[in-house]
């Protein structure tokens, strides 16, 4: 049997999946606590032992891993105009699977440089100016960054006319320099694919080493990418299909965690109504956003602040006092599981609110503009109203009771001008299949696709009957 071992080093659990490559079949799964703070191979070995008990000794043909352990991949992005190259840089960093700690625009100040030194990101992405456009700001910023403390690598992906000068300045500093094509080569044209590749290479070559994740290298072939990047690869493959096998089309995924909420969409999101005018930066087909203020435990307070206490009370049917009591307990003990019926209700309300907020921020918006020929609608961002398939992943949701109601409530909250999905079929990623299949997609895409299609496309098979 030809088999592959797929490893996902999470911040809490190290999750293993074994796949039979000949039959496109999941043979077994296991998990153990991640041991990134001591030696990551200890946890991995434990999980391997468990897998061994379940499925016996298998000589794996390939052993691939992704990781969000040891803080994942943290990045800082810098650009020129907030809605243009700064946003493009941020989208690129998200697309590479990073957590974007902060995004800067215009000239970096001394205070900014101090702050970046304190953040000490894994990678800094420097952009600014379309090709042939403004070079003054990016060159200034390169000069400022050369003086930043730490030795984080800098990826230059801005105005190509300024690239060599930025490179020369940064070569004189402690910061290793990488270059990539401009994230926005022309006005309102995004080009984030090449820079995400460079970021992934740096992750492979440097970050894995810097975080001590290479200690596990005897047990696996390579840590290929940050986990969100694997999830993106999986979703893209599932949406597009491979060869003659048709994919599932547009889809959206939500990963609701204890500290953050990630939203992924694989959809063009063009205006549904042909007379709607599309405004602003066009968005990538494969888009990921991360909400750092929305999470079920560490950031439950963030959900409360963003949605408002009244909405949480409405959703849960609980009193204000009860809601604040539950929030207080979660603040004091982020590992808490809902113990009482009230806490269960509060959890469901928090989940609905977080999904709603994160999707609203991810999706586009309509705005009505009055013109002499009548009202005209302007769309910024993606129209996801027609997207019908939602995949939920991440611990907080995959075991949730009444998930359909949580999602239904979430989609009711945004106003009519928000272009979030209107009604969805929800599938849970109970087996943490997405990250595993994202890894496998780089090695055996057909196997990865048919496994995912069988798992996430079940409804379609019934529909075909």
């Amino acid at each position: 049997m030809n088999a592959a071992l797929l490893i996902d080093f999470g911040s809490t659990y190290t999750k293993l999946s074994a796949v039979d490559l000949d039959d496109a079949r999941l043979i077994g799964r296991s998990q153990a606590f991640t041991t990134a703070s001591t030696d990551i191979s200890i946890g991995l070995q434990k999980a391997l032992d468990q897998l061994h008990i379940k499925i016996g000794a298998i000589d794996f043909k390939v052993r691939l891993a992704c990781s969000s352990a040891a803080g994942g991949l943290s990045m800082v992005a810098s650009g020129l105009v907030p809605g243009l190259t700064s946003k493009a840089a941020k989208l690129a960093a998200f697309g590479a699977g990073a957590k974007v700690i902060k995004t800067y625009a215009y000239q970096l100040t001394l205070e900014d440089i101090e702050e970046i030194g304190r953040i000490n990101p894994d990678i800094l992405l420097l952009s600014g100016g379309i090709d042939g456009g403004n070079s003054e700001v990016i060159i200034h910023n390169a000069g400022m960054l050369a003086g930043a403390s730490g030795s984080f690598p800098v990826v230059i992906a801005g105005n190509r006319s300024a690239q060599s000068e930025c490179e020369a300045v940064l070569r004189q500093s402690n910061h290793p320099v990488y270059t990539a094509p401009n994230v926005m080569p022309e006005m309102n044209v995004l080009n984030i694919e090449p820079v995400t590749k460079v970021i992934r290479e740096i992750f492979l070559k440097r970050i894995v080493l810097a975080k001590g994740l290479n200690k596990a290298s005897a047990l696996l072939d390579n840590i290929l990418m940050p986990t969100p990047s694997a999830v993106l690869s999986a979703l893209t493959l599932l949406s597009k299909g491979i060869g003659k096998q048709q994919g599932l089309g547009d889809l959206i995924a939500v990963d609701l965690g204890g500290a953050t909420t990630d939203v992924y969409s694989i959809a063009k999101g063009d205006p549904v109504n042909p007379s709607t005018v599309l405004r602003g930066l066009p968005e990538p087909l494969v888009k990921r956003t991360v909400e750092g203020d929305l999470g079920m435990r560490y950031n439950a307070q963030g959900i409360f602040e963003a949605i408002g206490g009244d909405v949480l009370c409405d959703l849960s049917g609980l009193s204000k006092e009860t809601v604040s009591g539950v929030l207080k307990r979660y603040r004091e003990d982020p590992a808490a599981l809902p113990a009482s019926p009230e806490e269960k209700k509060a959890d469901q309300a928090l989940a609905s609110a977080a999904i709603s907020l994160a999707m609203t921020r991810h999706a586009g918006r309509l705005e009505r503009v009055f013109t002499p020929i009548g009202p005209v609608y302007e769309q910024t961002g993606k129209d996801l109203t027609q997207t019908e398939r939602l995949i939920v992943t991440g611990g907080a949701l995959i075991y949730a009771d009444d998930l359909d109601r949580i999602v239904e409530n979430a989609l009711k909250l945004p106003d009519a001008m928000s272009l979030v999905p209107r009604s969805v079929k929800t599938v849970r990623d109970k087996e943490y299949l997405l990250s595993a299949m994202g890894l496998l997609s780089s090695y055996a895409p057909e196997v990865s696709f048919s496994l995912m299609k069988a798992y996430f496309g079940k409804d379609d098979m019934y529909a075909a009957d």
Binding site: G129, G133, M187, V376
Partner: protein, 138 residues
């Protein structure tokens, strides 16, 4: 050579044909055109000019509300650090039929460097821009 321009139709104006003609004519004349199309806000003109390091912003308007839409553009350019950027405006830029000299005066007072009335052929604005940007005489 200074040849970078930002082009667009300002405000809630959706007239796209003239915009396409200007885009074609200026590109053909050797300009690097960042065309923002129709329904462009002042902020979008300014942001595009910053990113592209533009030498001039060319504002079109056909629906008669141009005067309201253009107010404050020069001040915002100053605020955004676009010092001395050339501002052109042209089209059917005011309500009704008004003497062009008065219209021109009002728009110049708003900070526009050149003002063009309805029906101006593209060659005229192109020649003016080449002159203002000190292109060598052909």
């Amino acid at each position: 050579m200074r040849n970078k321009i930002v082009l667009g139709v300002i405000g809630a104006d959706v007239h796209a044909v003239g915009n396409q003609i200007l885009n074609y004519a200026f590109t053909d004349a050797g300009f690097h055109v960042v065309n923002l199309g129709v329904m462009v806000s002042q902020e979008e003109f300014i942001e595009a000019a910053i990113e592209s390091d533009a030498d001039a912003i060319l504002v079109s308007s056909l629906y008669g509300h141009g005067e309201l839409d253009c107010q404050g553009l020069r001040e915002k350019c100053d605020e955004a650090g676009l010092k001395d950027i050339l501002l052109y405006v042209g089209g059917n830029i005011v309500v009704g039929k008004q003497p062009f000299e008065e219209v021109e005066k009002r728009f110049k007072a708003m900070g526009f460097d050149r003002v063009f009335g309805p029906g101006t052929p593209p060659e005229v604005d192109i020649a003016a821009l080449k002159e203002d940007l000190n292109w060598p005489k052909e």
